[in-house]
Symmetry: C2
Subunit: 283 residues, 2 copies
Amino acid sequence: MSEQYTPPKKWVWEKENGGEWASLNRPIAGATHDKDLPRGAHPYQLYSLATPNGQKVTILFEELLEAGFAAEYDAWLIRIGDGDQFGSGFVEVNPNSKIPALMDYTGDKPVRIFESGAILMHLAEKYGAFLSTENRAEMLSWLMWQMGSAPYLGGGFGHFYAYAPYPMEYPIDRFTMEVKRQLDVLDRHLANSKFMVGDEYTIADIAIFPWYGRTVHGGSYDAAEFLDVGIYKNVIRWADEIAARPAVQRGQMVNRTSGDPSGQLHERHDASDFQTKTQDKIG
Amino acid sequence: MSEQYTPPKKWVWEKENGGEWASLNRPIAGATHDKDLPRGAHPYQLYSLATPNGQKVTILFEELLEAGFAAEYDAWLIRIGDGDQFGSGFVEVNPNSKIPALMDYTGDKPVRIFESGAILMHLAEKYGAFLSTENRAEMLSWLMWQMGSAPYLGGGFGHFYAYAPYPMEYPIDRFTMEVKRQLDVLDRHLANSKFMVGDEYTIADIAIFPWYGRTVHGGSYDAAEFLDVGIYKNVIRWADEIAARPAVQRGQMVNRTSGDPSGQLHERHDASDFQTKTQDKIG
């Protein structure tokens, strides 16, 4: 149970092997190269990728459009594996260099918004849609629960189970235990609630579905058997219902670059793109 | 660089040594024992502990009171080392079994709120205070940045540097790199901004200060030298200014059970408690 390692007094950055994403991890922030972002015709310009955090936003945009709001958007692809998030234009929109990042040109002056949870709040409040009318406190609680919990699923469990350079028992055990606890929190809540906030489908569902719905559907890190996801029956019932929504299906296609090619819409500039599928315009 | 470990097909819970907090980590949610929560005279009942997440809320309460709002509250101690968060009454307020958790009795019916970020939003919106009037999108972005980033500081870096059963090089390297990147994100932003959102002191500052202000002040995990916190001069300038606020000093005392005894107010039921310091009424 012990490793031959003693931390130094002061940590030093050594650019050695750190797993699949190692070349993209740095202990400093800021841009690494000059690159302007493209801008399309619509009032919203989204710079993203179809990770779970990216999907939250494209699902909400598609839900807003489905509900009849004029929330037309251009979705541009940010290839995080290639370091697009470190371009100067992207860093101006999100100094944290993570997708998704949004520019809102609907008002008197342009507004940047970063962090998926903030983008969900910004858009839902702007249109007064997909917010709870009955219990805002409960909606905020579950939205924030997702923001604070998913790092244990993605940066914790996902990293050590799927991406780290070799399997480490203690970190895998630690994060597996936490992810299963989180799934059980959801399962107990959804035993008595149709959606996260009673009968209202809100941004709390839209935030949680791409992470935990994907997990119980077996799509996270090939870990369905390892996590024994079949026991979370209420989460599966809830995830099935959300996955069947047309806007959710469209939202999951936007900025997707992996999986079945028929499910990939690398960029989205118009509702008709889902039919014509103009793949990888800038690629 | 390789450990002799192959993950099983299906993970099994083994209650073995998992570091300092191991006995409190479980892969299932819900209450472990029946225990009602106490209730005091004020409209807000806070159940918490002076961790960084707990301090966010007590700082905001003290700021609201300092600003003249009638936000009187009782702050009850939840000893997470003793498992108080798994009592039935606490789980009803927060099914996620984490502090802080709040009951709001100001309206027609009682409302529960959990997750520190949600409690900050709930209270700030109720009084229309400590919200940005100039740029709500920027405030939401940094508030959500804190919620999604601090798990890498607490559950990642803090756990592996200070609490894990033995030092592991790869996880310590991974989370140190990320925490230093986060500090640099803040440092670059605060080079050109008095507070997180321009000249306005908001809940974004109140959320970020207990985690990252504490870190640059050397209070997180005895890691000041390891993280070389002295280089983040803009974060230090910002943290110094916030630390000097009387409400922040009071907020950091509430529900505190460690450190200098003169800085510990185990429970808070009245403004005069900071003078009389009725320590550990229920202890």
